[in-house]
């Protein structure tokens, strides 16, 4: 283990925390080795910084000055009403509900009405404690420093499976709630499996309950495996006003003729990094990924996306929109890779930022890496302030400037939100976004 690279205060805190927590973290046998190896992988490189190309615009070494202690067992009493209040418009959705409070699965707050022949649910902590051999393979394809840290510190999460040819009738709402009054670090890992021909709509909601501490660090990893012919809608909403740091990674594998529709709403973290890694594993796969990032003050939101067309005849679409106010910095990095034999690939990507204040910043790096010739690939990136002509049009029709600005901003964001097909879910997400915009 190379220990000399851990230099910063945050890196040293992580080392101490790992040493302290080694005995209390769930898991035995190979799980302990897995954690130790994961921490060693992190220690070899330390926190990523701006000289690491993928982290050019989000220097974690610089920005992550202090790492709060890993979350202690939550003693706080949380009721369904507390959750509903924090969930806002999402609370009213007719959905199965799975709840994690401060990174720990809470059976008492979760409610699954579907038969176990349709949905199978397990807590990761329970499985790590048993450490069955087959579970180890789930971590085999991990990559990156943030995921390594997650693997070292993960406390819990859900393992959710939709069985072959079954369709989850209701969306599954996976609530990640923060309740602790002390700032803490939470590492959760979700393993989602949609078996052949199955269907699932999964909504991940990251919320802070009333009285939750500020300055939290969340490291959430969700692996999604979509088997042949299956389809999955995966939505994440992160709405936090408590100056927290949010590191999120989605790793999705799309099987033959499978479909994946992803959407991410990220509003007001102090710092967020959303890594999304998609791999097409079978021909005929379809991907539609979109997102909205909203930041003001000195907030920083980074969306980094890699779409790997490893096999022929797949289609991918990405649309990301950001609204940046104050001195906020929005980052979008999107890479489309087309492997040598991935002929007939169709990939399109668009990222757009609207800057509401003169000091807002947007950095974008859309990237194409193409090794096959029979492809149609493209990307676009734009950024600017609100179009003067559009403002003029609205104002000449008697709309006051504030209202005109709000209308134009909401319609800008709306284009991405409209990618959510389910009407109720779309309305709920739209409400969250509009509430944020109007709160400014």
């Amino acid at each position: 283990m190379n220990v000399t690279t851990l230099k910063t205060k945050a890196e040293n805190q992580l080392r101490e925390q790992f040493d302290d927590a080694a005995t209390t973290l769930p898991g035995s046998g190979w799980v302990k080795t897995l954690r130790a190896n994961a921490f060693a992988a992190f220690a070899a490189d330390g926190l990523p910084h701006r000289r690491v190309e993928e982290w050019k615009y989000t220097d974690l070494r610089e920005r992550l000055r202090d790492v709060p202690a890993p979350v202690a067992a939550s003693s706080k009493a949380v009721t369904a009403a507390d959750l509903d209040r924090a969930l806002g418009s999402l609370a009213a959705l007719d959905a199965e509900r799975i709840v994690l409070v401060d990174g720990v699965y809470r059976a008492d707050l979760s409610k699954i009405t579907a038969e176990t022949t349709v949905i199978e649910l397990m807590s990761l902590a329970a499985m790590l404690a048993k450490a069955p051999g087959w579970l180890e393979a789930k971590f085999a394809n991990d990559s990156g420093v943030v995921v390594a840290l997650n693997r070292a510190f993960m406390t819990d999460g859900v393992m959710l499976k939709v069985r072959k040819d079954q369709a989850a009738a209701k969306p599954v709402l996976l609530v990640h709630a923060r309740a602790g009054a002390e700032a803490s670090a939470i590492a959760v890992r979700n393993v989602i499996s949609v078996e052949a021909g199955a269907k699932l709509t999964l909504i991940e909601a990251h919320i802070a309950l009333d009285g939750a501490a500020t300055g939290n660090l969340t490291n959430a990893v969700t692996d999604v495996a979509i088997a042949d012919g299956a389809s999955c809608v995966h939505i994440k909403s992160f709405v936090d006003r408590a100056g927290s740091t949010h590191l999120s990674t989605w790793t999705t594998r799309i099987g033959k003729d499978a479909s994946y529709r992803g959407f991410q709403l990220t509003a007001s973290p102090a710092l967020a990094r959303n890594d999304i890694n998609i791999t097409f594993a079978g021909t005929g796969g379809k991907l539609d990924l979109s997102g909205v990032f909203l930041a003001r003050g000195s907030e920083h939101i980074d969306t980094t996306l890699v779409v790997d067309h490893a096999v022929p005849e797949c289609e991918s679409r990405e649309l990301f929109k950001g609204v940046l106010d104050g001195r906020a910095h929005g980052v979008f990095q999107g890479k489309i890779i087309v492997r040598p034999d991935a002929q007939k690939t169709d990939g399109k990507q668009m990222s757009q930022a609207l800057m509401l204040s003169p000091d807002a910043q947007f950095s974008s790096k859309p990237e194409l890496e193409i090794y096959a010739d029979d492809v149609v690939c493209g990307h676009g990136a734009t950024c600017t302030e609100i179009d003067g002509d559009l403002m003029f049009y609205c104002r000449s029709r008697g709309i006051p400037p504030d209202v005109a600005r709000a209308m134009l901003t909401e319609s800008f964001v709306g284009e991405a939100v409209d990618k959510i097909e389910d009407e109720a879910v779309r309305a709920a997400i739209s409400t969250l976004a509009i509430d944020w915009l109007r709160a400014g």
């Binding site: 800057m355 859309p366 194409l368 193409i370 010739d373 492809v375 690939c377 990307h379 950024c383 302030e385």
Partner: protein, 509 residues
């Protein structure tokens, strides 16, 4: 359609040996000993008879170069270059600097004749002068209008490390334009060189720029005085001849207030099995209301069909729009070189200044291209435009890498970027790596990129109307690069169209 036809004919006319400039000139030359150390730098400086400050400048660059690491971020793969096994200076024997045409070694003149570069001033680039048109000569009085000047090009010919001849000097001098080799400029106009050299590309800018600053042997120097529109196109023709020699030329162009100049650059090299290094630096300075148009047709030897040999082309080109309302426009056609690492950039410092980048990069065989541009918006209301067309064929890799950034105070910055890639064959790769950095909200950046092959629909449409497969491809390719071709000076446009045909030979159908 004429151009299309020409492309096809050109393609057909070519034999197995596609690179027609691959011959070698047998001429004695004087070289510095192999390897690089402070003595090499002193040797070069001494050969050039440079002032002491210049030697110090070079030594400073050399020391900085020693401290720098070779960059590895580009999408390029090549064996490590042994910098200690190269010759850093090579000059045809007997030439201590540019002199009159009569004194130049006839072998060199023959070389340029073979390359189609007119060094005799009564000659005009083929295809431009109509037959029977009287030949203008250096002594003829300046014509009333510039129209009659069209088609005349002043050439600075650089052979290996030194400038062998510069044409039309007298006539340019009448307009106040200084056009000479940089060695001569160091002797005749040291104050200008001292003021501007390294002001755009500092010695330690990057690894290859530092190397160049230490050992550059020659290059062109241009100064356009205030308010002067340069009466003719200026051009430099670079030729690498000697074996195991690195070519390091340095070009410095200064357009003073309200002036205009159009500058062309061309390059070729013999075919060899070994790789050769070319690391040039080009600095452009445009003061208030000035405009510089810089066009390059790069046709260094690309290596043979198995990827053996070829030039490593590591070039730093940067223009500084220093004055308000200034404009710098880069147009490049990159068809040669085994490896191209080149990012002609614009620093838009003056208010309302404008930067342009038009590029056609064609790679075939085992060529690797990593090229693009940087547009750094610093002044107010600055605009830039990037049009990049990449064509990858064979087993080549073609990367566009670009940066557009707007400083906090660069309000009203505007950029439009379009980079399209065309793939011919399933073994090649085309990559796009753009960076957009807007640090204020009034910046308006638009970027779009596409990658595709020539669509079956297009080919079907053309062939269904009676064109052969080959004609159809030529038509589509010519259409694909049209946006950029339009920005080339006329002399280069025809040549480029032919070159595109040649470069893609063997890759189509």
């Amino acid at each position: 359609m004429a151009a299309v036809k020409e492309t096809i004919e050109q393609v057909k006319a070519i034999d197995v040996d596609k690179y027609k400039y691959g011959f070698e000139t047998d001429i004695e030359s004087e070289k510095a000993p192999r390897g690089l150390n402070e003595d090499t730098v002193r040797f070069i400086s001494d050969k050039k008879g440079e002032p002491a400050w210049m030697l110090e400048w070079r030594l400073d660059a050399y020391r900085r170069w020693r401290a720098l690491k070779e960059p590895t971020w580009a999408k390029l793969h090549y064996p490590k270059i042994d910098f200690e096994n190269l010759y850093y200076y090579s000059a045809p024997k007997g030439t201590s600097g540019p002199k009159s045409l009569d004194e130049v070694d006839p072998e060199i003149l023959k070389t340029y004749a073979k390359l189609g570069i007119p060094l005799k001033e009564q000659e005009i680039l083929a295809g431009v002068r109509k037959t029977g048109e009287p030949s203008p000569s250096d002594d003829s009085p300046l014509a009333d209008g510039y129209a009659s000047m069209a088609g005349r090009v002043a050439v600075d010919a650089v052979f290996d490390s030194v400038s062998v001849v510069t044409t039309f000097k007298k006539e340019l001098a009448k307009a106040g334009v200084i056009f000479c080799s940089i060695s001569e400029a160091l002797r005749e106009h040291p104050e200008l060189v001292k003021k501007y050299l390294g002001s755009v590309v500092p010695q330690s800018d990057n690894y290859y720029a530092a190397l160049n600053s230490a050992v550059f042997s020659d290059g062109s120097f241009v100064y356009i005085p205030p308010g002067v529109r340069c009466p003719m196109e200026l051009s430099t023709y670079f030729r690498i001849n000697e074996k195991d020699t690195g070519q390091f030329e340095r070009t410095l162009i200064i357009a003073d207030k309200g002036s205009y100049v159009s500058y062309l650059e061309g390059c070729t090299a013999p075919m060899r099995d070994e790789n050769q290094l070319h690391a040039a630096v080009v600095e452009l300075v445009a003061l208030e209301d000035a405009e510089i148009k810089y066009s390059t047709v790069q046709n260094w030897y690309p290596g043979d069909k198995d990827g053996k040999g070829g030039i490593y082309n590591f070039v730093t080109k940067r223009g500084d729009c220093r004055g308000d309302n200034s404009k710098i426009s880069w147009t490049q056609v990159e068809t040669g070189s085994a490896i191209t690492w080149k990012y002609p950039s614009c620093i838009l410092r003056g208010d309302n200044s404008r930067g342009e980048f038009y590029s056609i990069a064609i790679s075939n065989g085992y060529q690797q291209v990593d090229s693009g541009t940087k547009m750094i918006h610093l002044g107010r209301n600055t605009t830039s435009r990037i049009i990049s067309k990449g064509i990858a064929a064979g087993k080549s890799q073609n990367t566009y890498r670009g940066l557009v950034s707007a400083h906090r105070k660069a309000t009203g910055a505007r950029n439009f970027t379009n980079c399209d890639s065309l793939l011919i064959g399933d073994k090649c790769g085309a990559h796009t790596v753009p960076y957009l950095e807007a640090r204020n909200s009034s910046a308006q950046f638009e970027h779009e990129a596409t990658t595709s092959k020539i669509s079956d629909n297009m080919l079907f449409y053309c062939t269904q109307r009676g064109l052969s497969q080959e004609e159809a491809i030529a038509l589509v390719v010519n259409g694909f690069v049209r946006d950029v071709l339009q920005h080339l000076p006329m002399e280069f446009m025809a040549e480029t169209q032919k070159l595109i045909g040649i470069s893609l030979e063997g890759s189509v159908g």
